[in-house]
């Protein structure tokens, strides 16, 4: 418990540093007003709007105002949407989580059997086939894979919707697209750890006790190979919540990734900040959960 509280307190300086860096980068990247006004707006019109929005103040003053408001839970108003930035960000979270969970399910369903199978059939055709497929899965650009899946399953076979969010069927292709690279990485990681575990003494002992292969592999070996799997899933969750941007764009999925990229394009500081801080909190929490899960999987791990 003390460990959890200490970890949660560490969040505060991380968030302040993240917010400062984001503010600095967005500030340096350009002027939002140029994007808000008509294309041929004069410099005087631009200056006037900058003044109205408080963007004429020095950087440090702008950041100070932001930080003071943020402490009170107010991330400010979106320049684009003219609404509370945090509300806009939280509105997208369900879609992001939906895609994230589906991708993890897809990748886990693919990776665990293939990783285990590849390990127990080490150096056979199956192993070679699975390993090669993993490399292919990792190497395939998301954009290309998504487009190919759409062309095959939606345009040619007309089995699944092309894009959008609605039913479970809308989720299949985006989940496969986002989950494939993750599955490939997981498969390879699981294979190598399973091979290592399978050569351990306690596996030999289990075999000599007469335990069945299924029990040895899935109860003893797989559980002890799960630590790297948890690490990778935790890392991937962080990536996915930050925006499976390409997948979201190809499939018109209304998640956080699309929002953050639009906000960056429009220099919508409040929304960018709210997005990044929500993602940062989420990443920290997921990493904490992963650390706690290590202990469940391997009781020898202790946190002081």
């Amino acid at each position: 418990m003390t460990y959890i509280i200490r970890r949660l307190f560490q969040v505060i300086p991380v968030l302040i540093i993240v917010s400062f860096l984001v503010f600095l980068f967005v500030y340096l990247s350009g002027d939002p007003v140029a994007l808000m006004l008509p294309e041929d707006a004069s410099q005087a019109e631009i200056e006037n709007m900058r003044k109205v929005l408080g963007l004429d103040k020095p950087f440090i003053v702008q950041y100070g105002i932001f930080l003071l408001n943020a402490v009170n839970g107010d991330f400010g108003q979106s320049f684009i949407y003219k609404q509370e930035a945090l509300g806009i960000v939280l509105e997208r979270l369900p879609a992001t989580f939906e895609l994230m969970i589906a991708s993890i399910i897809v990748s886990t369903i693919i990776a665990i059997p293939l990783g285990v199978w590849s390990a127990i059939r080490r150096n056979t055709f199956v192993d070679l086939f699975i390993s090669s497929s993993s490399i292919l899965g990792k190497a395939m650009p998301n954009f290309w894979l998504g487009m190919m899946l759409v062309l095959l399953f939606s345009v040619t076979l007309q089995l699944l919707p092309v894009s959008g969010k609605g039913t479970i069927y809308h989720l299949i292709l985006p989940a496969i697209t986002a989950g494939t690279a993750m599955a490939a990485q997981l498969t390879r990681m699981l294979r190598s750890h399973m091979i290592e575990v399978l050569s351990q003494d306690y596996i030999r002992t289990a075999r000599s006790k007469g335990l069945g292969s299924f029990v040895i592999i899935f109860k003893h070996a797989l559980r002890n190979s799960m630590l790297p799997v948890i690490t990778i899933i935790a890392l991937q969750i962080s990536t996915l919540v930050g925006g499976a941007l390409i997948t979201e764009t190809v499939f018109s999925w209304p998640g956080l990734g699309q929002l953050i990229i639009q906000a960056i394009h429009a220099r919508d500081m409040a929304v960018v900040q709210a997005c990044v801080l929500v993602i940062a909190v989420f990443v920290i929490v997921v990493n904490l959960l992963a650390d706690l899960l290590y202990r469940v999987v391997d009781p020898r791990i202790k946190y002081n």
């Binding site: 006037n48 709007m49 509105e91 007309q158 959008g164 609605g166 069927y169 190809v250 220099r267």
Partner: protein, 530 residues
Amino acid sequence: MLKSIKVFTLIFLVVVLVACNGGQSSTSTSSGSTNEEAGQNSNEVEESNNEEDRTLVIGIPTDIKSFDIHDHNQIITEAVHINIFSYLLKRDKEMEVQPDLVKDYKVIDDEVWEFDLKEGVTFHNGDVLTANDVKFTLERVAKDEALTEHSRLKVIKEVKVLDDHKFQIITDGPQPTLINLLSRIGSGILPQKYIEENGWDHFLSNPIGSGAFKFVEWRRDDRIILEPYENYYGGNIQDVDQVVFRVVPEVMTRINELITGGVDIVTDLTPDDITRIEDAEGVSATSAPSQRVALLGIQHREGYVTSDPKVREAIELAIDNEAITEHVLKGEATPTRTRVTPGNFGSNPDLFNTQLYDIERAKQLLQEAGYPNGVDITLTVPSDRYLKSKEVNETIAAMLKQAGINVNVQFVEYSRFVEMRNTGDFGDLYFAAYGNSLFDGSIALEEFATETGKERAGYENQEIADLWNEAHTNMNTQVRSKQYQKIQEIVAEERPHLYLYLQNEVYGTSDKVNFTPRTDSMIVIEDFIQ
């Protein structure tokens, strides 16, 4: 080994079969529910390939910004708003301004316009639209400096309500473009009572207007759902039960949605997409001239080679605009030497659909200017902002090289570009493409008559300033038109801007929809759905 392969094959087949079965049930389920419940959920909404489907789905590249009609400055947002909020005056399919909410209007004197509203117009909540709503709407934008449309509509000094249906607009000096201002982006009329009772935030998430369609739902970055308003003063729309604007950012996905029947109309395609659409069955590509003119801004400050009129002329003569429009833009553009194109008040037809291309004369001019061995110049282009800007500008650079002008093309991020352009730090040339939703020469020519031209390119011309200032407040339309035409002649001669082409907007449509694109890029559903 053989056993493993068999097991693997079996698993693979099971997965494929499950996927196939799932997909089939998806299609049949959605088709069925579409007929019965007319669009209760997204899946129903998308099944436009069903013959009895009464949902029109339009694929757009970005989401709307908000329902604040005065604070977006975005064509896509207005294309949605225009179906919800009625204007006082609206452009028809031929771009002629027609009375919409008003019955009639007259000019009382140079600064006073009197309008008569139609009777029996109601907002979507049943409230009657009165002159007070007009006053509330127009004075809001005229007074609030933070609104993007303020800079255009601040010319409205006051709206005087005479009775429930009669009002006067008092302008700040004579405003010959008032009618244009009231029929462009942000011209909807807001419901005063509804907003004052419920608050602005409530209005933004539950907007009501008096247009042909009422708001049902907005799922950000996903879709906006509208339904016909049964008491619409222009006649109830009966051919559709719902209209859905679906956000589909990726152009290939928009096309795939069109081909598979997921959407009925898609906007913002490129000329390169036309072939793919034409090759597919049941869909076609269609285009119309937009209001967007591509141009090169030319540096006039001393110290730059382009300050020499001969070099500027050589640049124009070296660019084969017809080749650019024909080959790079696949015929989806028209060469022009003016930004005030036909359909805009004050356009000069002699400067449209023409070019001065003459490479030999360009070389000669360069020699006369004192550059027999060629000259180096810089062209600044905003990246990823305008249609095929990379290809167009690389082609321009290649064309200029043939005349002995070596162009260093620098692509920069858009907001950086705006800063470089506005402070004159763009080098010798910059590329841009400007729209004109006012349909009047004043906006297009304003830059050369004000400080803006001087700030950007060091260009000033007193004759243009005098002509523009007179035209800007001239209520005599014939004289004003001639004044604009004269300015265009001077601009074509002195080249503070070198105009390239008027670009088309390309759309894809299902053959079941009788959609004709408009020059103002709006999607007015009542134009093609009864």
